[in-house]
């Protein structure tokens, strides 16, 4: 009766513990990496009803972001242009006025029914992000949206997670620039990162920049 269990069983508890430890570690590591916006959101590039190319309009033609997103410096919400804005250039008889790709835009202008653009950059409803204040105080579009002017199809470039927001709110000097340059997505400080930080510190001081880090800054 005494040899019911072989001697190797003595190691079993330890083996079980190690197994559990490794499994937990892998699962946790997996969640930490894959279940965050950095993984789940970045790269999201849905197909839009009209294959609008930012690379062409913004990049090649150099149209300012604010020609279409005209309320970005006034409102919390940066507006998607109305079909009427598109028709300023794409009316029949003007540029590509009869392109079949633009049919949804023309239809929208005629009927008033909106073009169902797919939302890419979403922050949760309980986070009240405000575009106007960032743009007015020298935070460029590129900081959150990436190089839109090089994207044929817009994709989600940055995580837009709370930790990612706070990175910037804790060190605003890394991104601040002259508000006149915010829509110039190619601009980088000519002096390199060190000069950017030096100039950023000056802006933080001169403009009294105090990005909120409390809950009330974004959650209401």
């Amino acid at each position: 009766m005494s040899n019911l269990f072989p001697k190797s069983v003595n190691k079993l508890p330890l083996q079980i513990l190690i197994f559990i430890g490794i499994t937990t570690g892998v699962v946790l590591a997996g969640i930490t990496y894959y279940a965050t916006p950095k993984y789940t959101r970045v790269g999201y590039a849905p197909i839009q009803p009209v294959p609008f190319s930012h690379a062409l309009h913004s990049g090649q033609l150099g149209i300012d972001c604010r020609y279409c997103h005209s309320n970005v410096d006034k409102s919390a919400h940066s507006n998607i242009p109305t079909a009427q804005t598109c028709m300023n250039c794409h009316s029949p008889g003007l540029i590509k006025g009869d392109s079949p790709l633009l049919a949804p835009v023309r239809a929208s202008f005629e009927s008033g029914n909106p073009v169902p653009w797919v939302n890419i950059h979403v922050v949760p409803d309980y986070a009240y992000f405000n575009h106007a204040v960032h743009v007015a105080r020298g935070v460029s579009c590129v900081e959150c949206h990436g190089r839109i002017n090089e994207m044929e199809v817009v994709h989600h470039a940055k995580p837009l997670s709370m930790a990612w927001c706070l990175d910037c709110h804790r060190a605003p000097e890394k991104v601040l620039r002259d508000p006149a340059l915010v829509t110039n997505l190619d601009w980088q400080h000519p002096g390199g990162p060190a000069a950017q930080i030096e100039q950023g510190r000056k802006f933080v001081h001169d403009w009294n920049i105090q990005p909120p880090q409390s809950c009330s800054g974004c959650h209401r």
């Binding site: 939302n119 002259d178 802006f203 009294n208 105090q210 809950c215 209401r220």
Partner: protein, 1163 residues
């Protein structure tokens, strides 16, 4: 070894063993100190507030296990974020910027008393109403009704289709019907055509009615208002011989006598009156001259609660009182006969001294009579005002057009004669609220055809099912115009197209008249451009200016101030008779205009139903209010208990619920059944019933709430009736949702009060009260008394420094180090609030404004009964009678229900303590401090432990026990699979800038953080690349402060010592509630002042609450003041109406600590 501390027993103060007792009480029950109440006070929520309905813990877990199993099945499908679309307009819309609100000037119409407003719209849907600040008399203030009116727009129960004979009819059929009526009337001159409408100041309607009278001479135009908020026209015709109405100028009145007049609520133009009264009441300097209010009334109104001298008198005796006062003021005996039979305590002296005071302020005195009183009273009051030189000074008579000649009685007469072919009922609800003797419903059935314009399908629509119901448009979705009470023409603009195709009153009239352009815009355009008032800017431009401003400047009624016509007056009063006595066998019944329901039109408004009545604090019900004396005689006084000898309950409190006796009121031969509620301050044999409840046919919210007092109201006297009897219905009880039982603060020095004479000597009287007055300096280097002696600028500077440089918070979160490189962490602003208790009148405007701004749900009567109401700001109403004994037990002062209490009102909301007790106990850091001094709530972190609510000394945190936003109120207790979701219509009223909270989350006042952030962001956008980021003072304010008609709430930045709030907080009478806890609330209060006349027989040398405070805090000094004054102490005594209550003789000032702080330590 365990150490034990020997706490000495409370000092015995008198021989019968009385102990030190509470000083303020919010209900008779609290005063009674019943064991049940004691237990309740020890609890955070009343018993049952945190229990499921009849479900014990074991059963709960069983259910939960099952629901988790079911919930797991649904998880798999919902874990990815759904694809969302951004839907931009096809064509750009002028002025529309997604994400920014747009404001339009408009007006809230109510009878002849429109309120100019600014409506806030988000993407075309109105969400919030603010007052129009350009309209000077109201200065941007509103009231609870205006604030709540936006909810009616989105009421799912409103009439959503036109119907003819009960079947839906489209707009074209309705137009045909109306055109047909017009054609018929044109053919026969309007014979058999009758219109019944509510009164209105609309110039467009006036124009259309004039045309109607011209073109259809046989037609009858009648107006009926169920309640009266303007004096009867007959009084002005008799006294002045012409049609005028009074507009009071309270800002100029130093002495005011109110005869049953609730000019804070029930009178037309009350918003402006509150504002003006507060101006004359405010004491921001030591030598400020403060007005004095005498109130003679049968019920306890908010106006009465502000009175410095209040006399309880039956409404039917007010004619006698007015006559007697007229005699005392003028010395004439013209109306002496009318005052025979008038009898009250110290009558001669009361009248003589009051008259003397009025005469001493000739030209600055004002007498106001309640609109419900008969014309005779008003006529005497007009004469009295003329004798006091008030006319032209404190009251102006303006040439307002008279109301329509014909009333509802003429309509009923025509109906009964059987010669009404078509009855057009515009708004109103006569079947519900017509005088009972007219039997309107029966008469209505004699009409051949009825066309009803109504916002709801209500009693009137239901009474004639064969008629046509035309869905009315809300004022926020229709064009119109109106007049304010002073006659200024205001614009009504639509914010949104009619949600259900409703039409407005003027459109309906225009269709019948066959106007060329019967749309609202054209009608109003034609009226306004036709006015001479627009002067040089006529036409399109002038009209645009009108819409922009919201009113036509200078269009108010002309001030005429005619001379008194003595002959007419005599003629009117010749028929008047002296009053008959009001007794237990022949009670007087006063029909009161409800502060929330108005005449019943707001019955389906959940915000208003759930708002507690300002005085009784009862929500979701009305009650038959009886005086304590009558309660005793009825035998419904408190039952008491074996171990306490204090006062008895007015009702049985079972699990915190007010279980009221049910009584039957027989009046005018009709019987009314309702719950009885003892209301201190009522005239002994007057019972008060509020109108507007007991609706039979309306939406889901209002049907069957309360009882219908219109059933017993007859047309001969709509304000009150006499000869009633009241009997108990044995064994019948009714639960009243009484919020005054909850959230008790166990009466300490919560509201600090002084008389004006003491304030003049010692403006810092508040510093001498409370526990912190006797301790070493709690915060900083100064005790409160030392702090109060500093110059004001110094105090503002120190307050600013303290706000910036002392550590805050106390949460698990690390307190930031504000020095060195982290200095920038200290906010740009430091937010704080000041509430002036001296001008707060307790009107509830702030409660509803907060509810509208912050997406606060309603919870329903059942939940309010359990103490789960969600209001972020509440008004605490304390009674005090000065007779409380030093001890809680045994004294005679404790064993009777006070009949003449003073009222202290206090708005209570999150105080944003710098060392907030709620933060230290939150296990998940859901409530933490931000850099600018806000005690924030991160809803997403909250796990609902409710520790914070337990630890809050102000009881201002609110918990979402259920998903109030997702569930209908009758489906709260259903399981997880029960229908959920908010109707689309209800979603539209939500403020998009504020999170809608879910079940299991704690919430509370945030100082309107969304407004703060919006103002900061606007300032930063404006600043751009410059350091100018400080929001200027006055650039924005919080919702409660914006609505407040008394301007009692002021919000702002105390980092800057020159802002308005900083200057208010630097006043000597500024104090923190529960200041001794050293939690440093950011909201502080200004002490309340009373201004009694030392010559009056009911003069109290100290406010009654203060007497109670002293009796508790200084039992030794106060001993001997209950009965005979001892020779050595002539300190303040209780209000007994005897000579010992005179102000203490300066020569006999006691040299005690009491005397020291009563009369200033430096004297």
């Amino acid at each position: 070894m365990k150490r034990t501390f020997d706490h000495s027993a409370p000092e015995q103060t008198n021989t019968d063993g009385a102990l030190t007792g509470p000083r303020y009480w919010r209900s008779l029950d609290e005063l009674a100190e019943t064991p049940g109440f004691q237990e309740q006070m020890a609890r955070e929520f009343p018993e049952g507030a945190d229990n499921l309905n009849g479900v014990d813990r074991r059963r709960f877990f069983k259910l939960m296990a099952a629901s988790f199993a079911l919930g797991g099945a649904g998880l798999a499908s919902g874990c990815r974020r759904p694809e969302e679309h951004i839907l931009a307009f096809g064509r750009s819309v002028e002025h529309s910027i997604p994400g920014l609100p747009l404001y339009y000037a408009s007006a809230f119409p109510l009878r002849r008393n429109a309120v100019p407003i600014l409506a806030e719209t988000h993407q075309g849907r109105p969400t919030k109403i603010e007052g129009n600040p350009s309209f000077a008399p109201y200065g941007g203030a509103t009231n609870a009704l205006v604030q709540a009116s936006v909810l009616d727009l989105y009421d799912p129960d409103r009439a959503t289709t036109h119907t003819i004979r009960g079947t839906a009819a489209n707009a074209a059929r309705i137009q045909d019907l109306l055109a047909e009526i017009g054609t018929q009337a044109r053919a026969d001159g309007g014979n058999g055509l009758v219109f019944l409408a509510e009164s209105s100041g609309s110039p467009t309607r006036e124009r259309l009615v004039a045309r109607l009278r011209r073109e259809f001479p046989q037609a009858l135009w009648a107006e009926y208002d169920a309640v009266r908020d303007e004096p009867p026209a007959a009084a002005a015709r008799a006294a002045f011989g012409r049609d005028v109405k009074p507009v009071y100028r309270f800002a100029k009145a130093k002495r005011v006598v109110a005869l049953d007049a609730d000019f804070f609520g029930a009178e037309s133009g009350s918003i402006g009156y509150i504002r003006d009264f507060a101006k004359a009441r405010r004491a921001h300097t030591v030598d400020a001259e403060i007005n004095r209010l005498y109130s003679v009334e049968s019920t306890f109104t908010l106006t009465g609660s502000m009175a410095d001298h209040r006399l309880r008198l039956a409404s039917s005796h007010l004619l006698a009182f007015a006559a007697a006062l007229f005699g005392a003021v003028t010395g004439s005996a013209d109306y002496a006969a009318l005052s025979t039979g008038l009898q009250f305590k110290d009558q001669e002296k009361w009248l003589a001294e009051c008259a003397k005071d009025l005469l001493a302020h000739r030209g600055q005195a004002l007498v106001v009579a309640g609109s419900h009183l008969p014309a005779e009273v008003h006529a005497i009051v007009y004469a009295l005002n003329a004798a006091l030189d008030a006319i032209g000074n404190t009251v102006d008579f303006v040439a307002a057009p008279a109301p329509a000649e014909a009333g509802i009685a003429e309509v009923v007469a025509r109906l009964n004669a059987g010669n009404v072919r078509t009855l057009v009922i515009l708004g109103g609800n006569p079947v519900y609220n017509a005088p009972a003797d007219l039997q309107f419903a029966a008469a209505l059935r004699r009409a051949q055809q009825v066309v009803r314009l109504g916002y709801y399908v209500d009693e009137t629509s239901a009474a004639f099912p064969a008629g046509a119901h035309v869905a009315a448009a809300h004022y926020l979705e229709s064009w119109g115009d109106a007049r304010t009470t002073d006659g200024t023409i205001v614009a009504i603009q639509p914010m949104i197209l009619p949600l259900f195709g409703g039409i407005s009153e003027i459109e309906l009239l225009a269709r019948i008249l066959g106007e060329g352009k019967p749309d609202g815009y054209s009608l109003v355009f034609q009226t306004i451009t036709g006015l001479n008032a627009l002067g040089g800017t006529e036409g399109e431009k002038g009209f645009r200016q009108f819409l922009h401003d919201g009113f036509v400047a200078g269009s108010a009624y002309q001030v005429v101030n005619p001379a008194i016509n003595a002959g007419g007056l005599r003629e009117l009063l010749a028929a008047a008779r002296p009053p008959v006595p009001v007794t237990r066998e022949a009670l007087e019944v006063r029909f009161t205009l409800d502060a929330k329901m108005d005449d019943g039109r707001f019955a389906n408004n959940g915000w208003l139903q759930e708002c507690p009545d300002p005085m009784t604090k009862i929500a979701w019900d009305n009650a038959i209010l009886v005086s304590p004396a009558l309660g005793r005689e009825l035998g419904i006084e408190p039952g008491g208990s074996a171990i306490q000898v204090a006062r008895k309950n007015s009702a049985h409190f079972v699990r915190g619920m007010d279980r009221a006796f049910v009584g039957e009121l027989t009046v005018n031969g009709r019987v009314l059944r309702g719950p009885l509620h003892i209301q201190p301050g009522l005239a002994n044999y007057t019972v008060a019933v509020a109108l507007g409840y007991g609706r039979g046919v309306t939406g889901r919210v209002g049907t069957g709430v309360g009882f219908d007092a219109y059933q017993v109201r007859l047309s001969d006297n709509l304000g009150y009736a006499t000869g009633a009897t009241l009997t108990l219905v044995p064994g019948s009880f009714h639960l009243l949702a009484n919020t005054q039982q909850h959230w008790s603060m166990e009466g300490r020095d919560i509201v600090r009060e002084a008389n004006v004479d003491e304030f003049r000597q010692n403006p810092g009287f508040v510093a001498g009260m409370g526990m912190e007055a006797h301790s070493p300096a709690i915060f900083g280097d100064f005790t409160p008394e030392e702090f109060a002696k500093l110059p004001r600028e110094e105090r503002a500077r120190i307050t600013s420094e303290r706000a910036q440089f002392t550590p805050r918070g106390g949460s698990l979160k690390e307190t930031p180090d504000f020095s060195g490189p982290n200095a920038f962490l200290d906010g740009v602003h430091q937010w704080a609030m000041s509430i002036d208790l001296n001008t707060c009148i307790g009107c509830n405007a702030c409660v509803i404004a907060c509810q509208a701004e912050n997406n606060i749900p309603i919870v329903g009567k059942d939940q309010v009964l359990r103490g789960r109401e969600m209001h972020w700001i509440r008004l605490d109403r304390y009674y005090s009678d000065g007779k409380i004994e030093g001890g809680a037990f045994g004294g005679p002062g404790n064993s009777i229900i006070p009949e003449d209490p003073q009222v202290s009102l206090q708005p209570m909301t999150c105080q944003h303590c710098e060392l907030a007790p709620c933060e230290t106990v939150c296990p998940v850091n859901a409530t933490v401090h931000d850099q600018e001094g806000l005690n924030t709530m991160a809803y997403n972190r909250c796990i609902g432990t409710r520790y914070c609510a337990n630890n809050c000394p102000y009881k201002v945190r609110r918990f979402n026990f259920f998903d109030y936003n997702q569930r209908q109120l009758d489906k709260l207790y259903l399981g997880p699979l029960a229908p959920k979701g908010m109707p689309e219509l209800v979603k539209m009223v939500k403020n998009p800038d504020v999170t809608v909270r879910m079940r299991g989350v704690m919430e509370k006042c945030t100082y309107c953080v969304q407004r703060i952030q919006a103002a900061k962001i606007a300032q930063k956008v404006k600043a751009g690349p410059s350091p100018d980021v400080v929001v200027p003072d006055g650039a924005f304010t919080v919702a409660c402060a914006q609505a407040c008609p008394a301007e009692a709430i002021v919000f702002g930045n105390i980092k800057d010592p020159t802002t308005r709030v900083s200057r208010l907080k630097a006043l000597e009478q500024d104090y923190a509630v529960l200041g001794y806890l050293n939690i440093r609330p950011r909201t502080t209060y200004l002490g309340k002042l009373r201004n009694p006349n030392p010559e009056m027989p009911d003069y109290a040398s100290l406010p009654l609450s203060r007497q109670e405070y002293l009796k508790k805090a200084y039992p030794a000094e106060m001993k001997g003041h209950h009965g005979q004054a001892s020779p050595t102490h002539t300190g303040p005594g209780p209000r007994q109406g005897t000579t010992e209550d005179k102000a203490p003789n300066p020569a006999h000032r006691p040299q005690t600590s009491l005397g020291k702080f009563l009369f200033g330590g430096n004297r």
